[in-house]
């Protein structure tokens, strides 16, 4: 850079002059952003140092006893909280336990020292994918609210600021329209931005740039330039966050030519799809799910490799079956698998398809499955009208009508803004029993019919 302008983007320390537009007492950074600290260092230490002579031994034992009591108290409180939350969204005892255990794992930065050799949480998967792609390609940078010093609102970008510096991990002001436009402009110049929306509800502030500036530019310029950008963040319902923070945007973005829309379920999905998205030369909308971040999944050795990528536009058959096809994506895949277990006990063999890619949609896999099972249930969390399920059902009717033995069905979120009260919220999103009931209907096994309003 010419002249005096060698400042990195943003500031690692507060300004020396009292500019009117900066707060007078900014907080000092919590991480050593101006040192190249290793990402492998944990930011918290919890070891207790002991003094040596035997005269203090009784006090040591007293201290340890008190610490155990305190930790035990915290465990009970947290487990109660987790049980309540998991119960309200249909969690099983095994996930409750793993949730509780997760509380006690030390904060894991972007290292591969996972507590269990072949298991990884979705959060760790996303973090490692970002880390590896930023390491491999200097044009990749991360931009969003709280992605840097705060370590990410959901800790997805933990450790990245420390490792890559403030030129590549940029904390933005709360101005989605502005910073999304800036990121798209940078992508015009062949940089590779990863834009984080704290949730996709806020992407609506920036949706003009996602659609009109990013998605359509390659077409409008007849290929003169492409836009290799990724928009990522949590999407859909969390728990108790109300109407403005719970919408699923899959069908909105997936209807737009020029965009790719990816939605991971497992950790392997998260790693492989995010790496594919960052490497992709087109704009990708990468819809995560907040409630999946803490869930742990087994990962293969192949998935841990830094060159691992999943193909875009390919669905995964999570569970093979022969009686009914259930399509799902993101968090709902977990519910669909549970529904398939219940159905199996009743003699119905359900095939569960994890879509992974909403645009382009893997119609080949879906149709091949329906031609085998002859029945289709689509499940999604978002609003039903003009939703992903509507597209899948229609496309199966177009391509495989003769193979259908029952009407196609879609299970979706309720046609209402998300309510806050827990019981109403539970009614507003699909539950396992909704999927089971619909599958049985498709198999003509249900003696009940939906009550007409």
């Amino acid at each position: 850079m010419g002249g005096n302008n060698t400042e990195p983007f943003g500031r690692s320390s507060p300004p020396t002059s009292s500019s009117p537009f900066r707060s007078p007492q900014p907080l000092p950074p919590t991480t050593a952003a101006d040192t190249q600290a290793s990402v492998y260092s944990s930011s918290s230490s919890s070891s207790v140092s002991l003094a040596s002579p035997s005269s203090v031994l009784p006090y040591v034992f007293l201290f340890i006893f008190a610490a155990c009591v305190l930790i035990g108290f915290v465990v009970v409180v947290k487990m109660l909280g987790i049980v309540r939350r998991q119960a309200s969204i249909g969690g099983s005892p095994s996930t409750v336990l793993s949730e509780a255990l997760r509380v006690f794992r030390p904060a894991v930065p972007a290292s591969r020292n996972y507590s269990s050799a072949k298991e990884m949480t979705v959060r760790e998967a996303l973090n490692s994918a970002l880390d590896e792609e930023m390491s491999a390609d200097p044009k990749v940078f991360l931009m969003g609210e709280e992605v840097g010093e705060y370590q990410g609102a959901y800790k997805i970008s933990k450790g990245l600021l420390e490792k890559y510096g403030p030129d590549r991990v940029l904390d933005t002001p709360i101005t989605e329209a502005g910073f999304t436009g800036v990121a798209v402009g940078a992508a015009f110049q062949s940089l590779k931005p990863v834009v984080e929306f704290m949730t996709f509800n806020f992407s609506m502030q920036a949706i003009d740039h996602i659609i009109n500036s990013a998605a359509k530019s390659n077409y409008m310029s007849a290929g003169q330039f492409n836009v290799p950008i990724v928009f990522r963040g949590p999407n859909g319902a969390a728990a108790g966050v109300g109407a403005q923070h719970s919408q699923c945007y899959a069908s909105w973005f997936a209807s737009c030519p020029g965009l790719k829309v990816l939605m991971p379920y497992s950790s392997e999905d998260a790693r492989g799809l995010l790496k594919a998205a960052i490497r992709d030369p087109d704009p990708v909308v990468f819809l995560e799910n907040e409630l999946l971040y803490g869930e742990s999944f087994p990962v293969s050795a192949e998935a841990l490799d830094s060159s691992f990528c999943l193909p875009i536009g390919k669905a995964k058959i999570e569970k093979e079956g022969k009686d009914v096809t259930i399509t799902a994506f993101s968090k709902i895949v977990g519910l669909a698998l549970k529904a398939a277990d219940i159905l199996a006990k009743e003699g119905i063999s359900a095939e569960v398809i994890n879509l992974r890619s909403i645009r382009p949609l893997d119609k080949a896999t879906i149709n091949a499955s329906v031609r085998k099972t002859n029945r289709l249930i689509t499940v999604e969390e978002g609003f039903p009208q003009h939703g992903v399920g509507a597209e899948i059902c229609t496309s199966v009717i177009e391509d495989s009508f003769g193979y259908l033995d029952a009407p196609v069905e879609r299970v979706a979120g309720a046609d209402v803004p998300m309510p806050y009260a827990a019981n109403l919220e539970r009614m507003a999103v699909p539950q396992v029993e909704d999927i089971v009931r619909a599958a049985k209907r498709a198999c003509y096994r249900s003696s009940q019919h939906a009550v007409a309003a």
Partner: protein
């Protein structure tokens, strides 16, 4: 709306008598001369540059030629639109040529320009050809966007021109993003993001300006203030129409946008400033003779006297013509010959563009993705038109 009633051009004593060659060739005399701008610059939070501009007779002749070419091109586009060869939107730039031409004189092709939909002349200034302009306007294959963009979506990436945008104000954050990339890649270049007085009130502009100032991006925001946002005069849209001051902590400069030399000086100043100190706002006081677009006569919200008054007193081409005549660089006939030449060029380009075919039907489905992964796309009748997108 302050109207500058009389252009004042003082000739510095330093000029040489020229022998003029055939006016097929622009004068190659690049020895520096100094000319004053019409009015001094007004500044906000910075020291304005001097109103004495270093130029040369060859540069002045090139200004004349380029602006005449742009003027002729836009008038020809008007006729083509009226004969329905151009469809949809057509926003014409005649009257504002000095902004494009002055800016190009201060920039290189490694600097970037981004603008809104009034982009035909900016594209030309960045090295685009008349053939590409007319073909694109008429939706033909020889167009700069192969006929798929239209009037509002001209691009020329190899020359740092990033469009051509239809959404008012969107180009400003995009422009700050281009500047971000320049800083990220250590290009030592700047981005000029052009917008109008109508777009100046857009929130995203201030969001982008905040980010540009916070991160010291080499972005220059250029408000082409033609005093009307479509049919709404600036005093009806903006509480403060002093657009060069609207950046608050960001310095600004108000420039006579009908004076190509003033534009050049301001852009040169802005580029040096942005490389050292971050963003700056330039307000170009300019005027468009046409309405907002071809569907707007432009006379329902302004008087014909106002339009003809500015044409007589501030026209950018006339200003340069008077300068050339007073400096004795060319005589009336020679300048008229240049105009005739330019007119011929435009007519030839239009004839050639008319000969360019419409895009192939298969082009409907190209350039959606760089990498399609075998995705399919459909036409209106899905059973009839089903295509695997190219670029697997």
């Amino acid at each position: 709306m302050a109207l500058i009633s009389r252009s004042t051009s003082t000739c510095a004593p330093l000029f040489r008598p020229l022998t003029l060659f055939s006016l097929r060739h622009v004068s190659t005399d690049t020895s520096p001369i100094t000319v004053d701008t019409s009015v001094p610059f007004t500044s906000h939070n910075c020291d304005p540059p001097s109103r004495s501009v270093t130029t040369s007779t060859s540069e002045l002749l090139s200004f004349f030629r380029d602006m005449s070419l742009m003027r002729r091109m836009e008038i020809a586009a008007d006729s083509l639109y009226k004969s329905k060869l151009i469809r949809g939107f057509c926003h014409l730039y005649d009257g504002q040529e000095a902004v494009s031409v002055g800016m190009e004189a201060a920039l290189t092709k490694s600097d970037c320009i981004i603008t809104a939909y009034r982009d035909h002349c900016i594209f030309l200034g960045r090295g685009g050809s008349l053939l590409e302009v007319f073909s694109e306007l008429m939706g033909r294959q020889a167009g700069c966007s192969k006929g798929k963009g239209g009037s509002m979506h001209f691009y020329r990436k190899q020359a740092g021109f990033y469009g051509g945008h239809g959404i008012v104000g969107a180009q400003v954050p995009l422009g700050c993003g281009l500047a971000f990339a320049q800083k990220y890649s250590k290009d030592e270049a700047v981005t000029f993001a052009l917008y109008g007085d109508g777009a100046a009130n857009q929130g995203q502009l201030f969001e982008a300006l905040n980010i540009a100032a916070l991160w010291d991006l080499p972005a220059i925001l250029v408000c082409e203030n033609n005093h009307y946002g479509m049919g709404t005069a600036e005093w009806r849209a903006a509480k403060s129409p002093a657009y060069y001051k609207r950046g608050d902590y960001v310095p600004g400069l108000k420039v006579d946008g009908m004076d190509a030399l003033a534009v050049k000086q301001a852009c040169k100043f802005a580029k040096e400033h942005a490389l050292k100190n971050g963003p700056l706002i330039l307000e170009m006081d300019t005027y468009r003779y046409h309405g907002h677009s071809m569907s707007d006569p432009g006379s329902t919200y302004r008087t014909r006297d106002e339009i003809s008054g500015i044409r007589q007193e501030r026209d950018p081409i006339e200003r340069v013509r008077k300068l050339l005549l007073s400096l004795d660089v060319a005589n009336e006939k020679e300048l008229k010959d240049i105009e005739k030449e330019v007119r011929k060029e435009v007519d030839e380009a239009i004839a050639q563009a008319k000969g360019s075919p419409a895009p192939e039907p298969s082009e409907l489905f190209t350039n959606i993705y760089v990498k399609s992964f075998g995705a399919e796309a459909y036409g209106a009748d899905r059973k009839e038109v089903r295509v695997t997108l190219p670029g697997y």
